[in-house]
Amino acid sequence: MVKEIERAGIPVVHMCTVVPISLTVGANRIVPTIAIPHPLGNPALTMEEEKDIRRNLVARALRALETEVTEQTVFEK
């Protein structure tokens, strides 16, 4: 799906936990996430701590969208 969205001319960031799959599929902007059943959360934490993590990850995704890339790029930070 990520490739079709890109092909349509819309910049897209893929947020996922298993980065090697995303690389194989062909996503260009990738943000690694927490865990497979809860990529953007962590049930071991409090609601507020969890939201902080999510805020950071979404902020990173936005930064990825604002960053020019020429090849597949994983935004680790």
Binding site: M1, V2, K3, E4, I5, E6, R7, A8, G9, I10, P11, V12, V13, H14, M15, C16, T17, V18, P20, I21, S22, T24, V25, G26, A27, N28, R29, T33, A35, I36, P37, H38, P39, L40, G41, P43, E50, K51, R54, R55, L57, V58, A59, A61, L62, L65, E66, T67, E68, V69, T70, E71, T73
Partner: protein, 347 residues
């Protein structure tokens, strides 16, 4: 006697389904699950001396540690052959099987074999590194998989000559093998042409390489003015799954209005996905589709706006062809709606 160690996941070891996908690797000395059929097929030529059982999520989320521990476990048994799976179209399982098989081949220098459906992400990642037998897309194909994998495994262990992918049943690995066809070229070509004219299936002898890469689009100039849409393969749907998106092999996607929705709650949203433990997403779907944070960012002016609709499907055993078609269709709508960027989340 050839000593074999096999790798399987929590499901095939009968430990449990998605709710047990987090378990770390453990060793079984008895023959477990698919091992029974393999042992039968090996007869007296080989013996499965140990089976490693590991949760699919655990392996993929703790890649380095899992590889290290499992390698140590395998070493203990000093096997002559390592078999992983078969994983069919289970994505995380396939990636785990192929990853560990490649690791064993490289570190322990013994023959390895795995099996999976050709669309399993593990296949594309590793088919040039290890032999991956092409299987059906579900465990219904177990018998067929064992029938192809067991003889090839024995051949590998004995160091016998491995024939072409078409003859042995593994996924093409980029290595060309010369062999004589039974029928001559002109006859094969005419047969292909006849099939084509009759709209029947035929197999080309010269497949074009598949370099399907899409160049990255230009970055968003000013994210604070951008209209952003959310898309997910994690199966988030309004509670009750009104369009009945299938829990695996989805045949459709959903488009849902989140106008005025500030937060996805247990009462209003859930996941339709059958390929991961749904407990966490059902309690708070923002863990998969971060509507709450994007609303916050929208109010703070960190983004222009969040698109009124999100698009969703279940990426569990769903055919690549279907996913492509879904995304091609909704991307057209997104384009028409003037979307500047998309955040796509996957589980």
């Amino acid at each position: 006697m050839i000593k074999v160690v096999q790798y399987i996941n929590q499901f095939f070891a009968n430990v449990g389904g998605e709710e047990m996908a987090h378990i770390p690797a453990e060793v079984r000395t008895e023959i477990v699950g698919p091992g029974l059929a393999f042992q039968q097929a090996f007869k007296d030529e080989a013996k499965i001396v140990a089976t490693i059982v590991c949760g699919d999520s655990y392996f993929n989320e703790n890649l380095e540690e899992a590889k290290k521990t499992i390698l140590e476990m395998i070493k203990e048994y000093n096997p002559d052959l390592f078999i992983a799976g078969p994983a069919f179209n289970a994505g995380r399982y396939g990636v785990a099987c192929a990853t560990i098989a490649a690791e064993v081949k490289e570190q322990l220098n013994i023959p390895v074999l795995t099996g999976m459906y050709k669309e399993n992400p593990g296949a594309d990642m590793f088919k040039n590194k290890v032999y991956i037998v092409s299987t059906k897309n579900s465990a219904v194909g177990m018998k067929d998989a064992v029938k192809k994998m067991a003889p090839l495994a024995l051949k590998l262990a004995k160091g016998e000559k491995i024939l072409s992918s078409a003859e042995e049943g593994y996924l093409p690995n980029g290595i060309r093998v010369n062999f004589f066809e039974k029928e001559r070229g002109s006859k094969r070509a005419v047969n292909m042409l006849l099939s084509k004219l009759q709209d029947k299936e035929f197999e080309t002898e010269f497949p074009m390489p598949d370099f399907d890469r899409v160049e990255p689009n230009k970055a968003v100039k000013d994210i604070t003015k951008a209209k952003i849409a959310l898309v997910t393969s994690g199966g988030i749907v309004p509670k009750g799954n009104p369009d009945h998106i299938e829990s695996s092999s989805a045949s459709k996607f959903g488009k849902y209005d989140i106008d005025g929705v500030m937060d996805l709650t247990e009462e209003t949203y859930e996941t339709a996905h059958g390929g991961y433990d749904p407990v966490y997403a059902n309690l708070d779907a923002d863990r998969v589709l971060p509507v709450d944070i994007l609303r916050e960012f929208e109010q703070q002016g960190k983004i222009g706006s969040l698109h009124r609709y999100f698009y969703t499907t279940v990426g569990n055993g769903t055919a690549v062809k279907s996913s492509k078609a879904f995304a091609a269709e909704f991307s057209k709508e997104l384009k028409q709606d003037g979307i500047d960027a998309v955040i796509l989340t996957s589980t």
